[in-house]
Amino acid sequence: MKRHLISAADLTHDDAVLVLDTAVQLAAIADRPVKKLPTLRGRTVVNLFFEDSTRTRISFEAAAKRLSADVINFAAKGSSVSKGESLKDTALTLEAMGADAVVLRHGASGAPYQLANSGWISSVVINAGDGTHEHPTQALLDALTMRRHLKDDVGDLAGLRVAIVGDVLHSRVARSNVLLLNTLGATPILVAPPTLLPVGVETWAAQTSYDLDAVLPSVDVVMMLRVQSERMNAAFFPSQAEYSRRYGLDARRADLLPEHAIVMHPGPMNRGVEISADVADSRRSVIVEQVANGVAARMAVLYLLLGGSEPPASTEESA
């Protein structure tokens, strides 16, 4: 296993299954009277967030605290960063404070890679979302959720068909999921209007479609992506109502799904846009469970990268 987690592609098949298996064991402590383990006692985890993301930050914070790590939250707003400090100087500051791991959320794609490979810091770097690039721990928690519901919590995701629907263009969640789903043997199907598929999507290891109704009857998982209006500086579709009519998941569309299929959403949801309220609250929806699995998946990543003298050895070469 690599020392940093920058991309879902950093994980081999065996690494990914190990993270999921570890997450399953760590999830069990949520049911215990004492929800804390001494494993990372004395280690410092810095949550370095240059973009607002309350849910990802508190998920990492809960994960680190359950493993007894000391957590320092560094939000860019109101900090030295807003006074013009560079990523490098921020990194040197964290290094001087003795951070063992930096969980980085940044608006620029590639910022975690630069932080990990620049030599500025010696700590482990975990990507918590960079620009429109990747969000590997989201892909891990999604895989954990799929495996629990469709694979009895063991092995990989071989044979599953997963529709990823909506704003693929701006979605780091989609990119990480496509990589990890392929690693784990599943087939991702990207469903979006042509304007919301990235240039070069034909080179991705994923099927694409513009027609949601045609895809739904043959999938095991449908993952709805949020329409990221804050990243949309051009007109990608005529109106929200039209988007919702073509690509929104409502009760009629949910009925097209096979009986066993689950509905996922990385959150935060725009109810009434990409997903209707009744589907979001339906029996098929595992959206709340994704949040709980997020803490377990992040605990697993923190334990495997920080718990020992080094990450566990890989048994196969990284893809």
């Binding site: 190990l18 760590l26 402590i29 001494p38």
Partner: protein, 208 residues
């Protein structure tokens, strides 16, 4: 301290010991020792609310078998659980991160019960120390006792076993390996020198 699979490497190797390892307990010896320990637990706990908890990995099958025998003696179902102590180890940072094994609380929980921890080998006592910590996070037992198949001495902590299958005098240069039917195909205990074994220490991580 017991020989963990990652250090002992005994899993999956069958019963074939190397030339330098000799058998110190046969499968019959193991069977008799477990039967005796089951009777001792019955006698010493006097029908109290007993639960057996095996320390992963080799302690788990031993705990299951003890629970079965104790159940036969007492005519009741004896709850059995398993405990993975990896996250409580004091040598966690000396080696690469290790995969976790399941922890299962015995049916009915451990609050107020007399918990008998079960492991294969008692050595430095560090595994048992970690197990006591791990156990306290699962509940508050009325009492905790310790049963081991082999006590090889060389304690580094003030810990002793309540039930011992065999006291085995060893030198620190020697390695004790426990094979169990469930994981290795047959029961046996071996003593000897690992080929290419590391220099003397009681730290199990050096025994790989």
């Amino acid at each position: 301290m017991s020989e963990r699979p990652e250090s002992g490497g005994s899993a999956g190797e069958g019963v074939a010991a190397t030339d330098e390892m000799r058998v110190v307990m046969t499968s019959d010896d193991v069977r008799r020792a477990l039967s005796r320990i089951a009777h001792e637990i019955d006698e010493r706990t006097k029908g109290a609310d007993v639960a057996l908890v095996g320390i992963a990995s080799r302690g788990v099958p031993l705990a299951r078998r003890l629970a079965e025998r104790l159940g036969d003696i007492q005519g009741r179902e004896v709850p059995v659980g398993e405990l993975d102590i990896t996250l409580h180890r004091d040598d966690l940072r000396l080696k690469p991160a290790r995969p976790l094994l399941p922890t299962r609380v015995p049916a009915g929980g451990i609050d107020g019960a007399t918990v008998v921890l079960v492991d294969d080998v008692l050595f430095s006592g560090r595994t048992v120390r970690a197990a006591l910590d791990a156990l306290s996070e699962l509940g508050r037992p009325r009492a905790v006792q310790l049963a081991v198949l082999v006590d090889r001495g060389h304690r580094e902590l003030p810990i002793r076993a309540d039930y011992v299958g065999k006291n085995l005098p060893t030198s620190l240069r020697e390695t004790v390996r426990v094979h169990v039917q469930e994981a290795d195909g047959a029961d046996a205990v071996y003593l000897g020198h690992e080929p290419g074994a590391a220099p003397i220490t009681t730290d199990e991580s050096s025994q790989s």
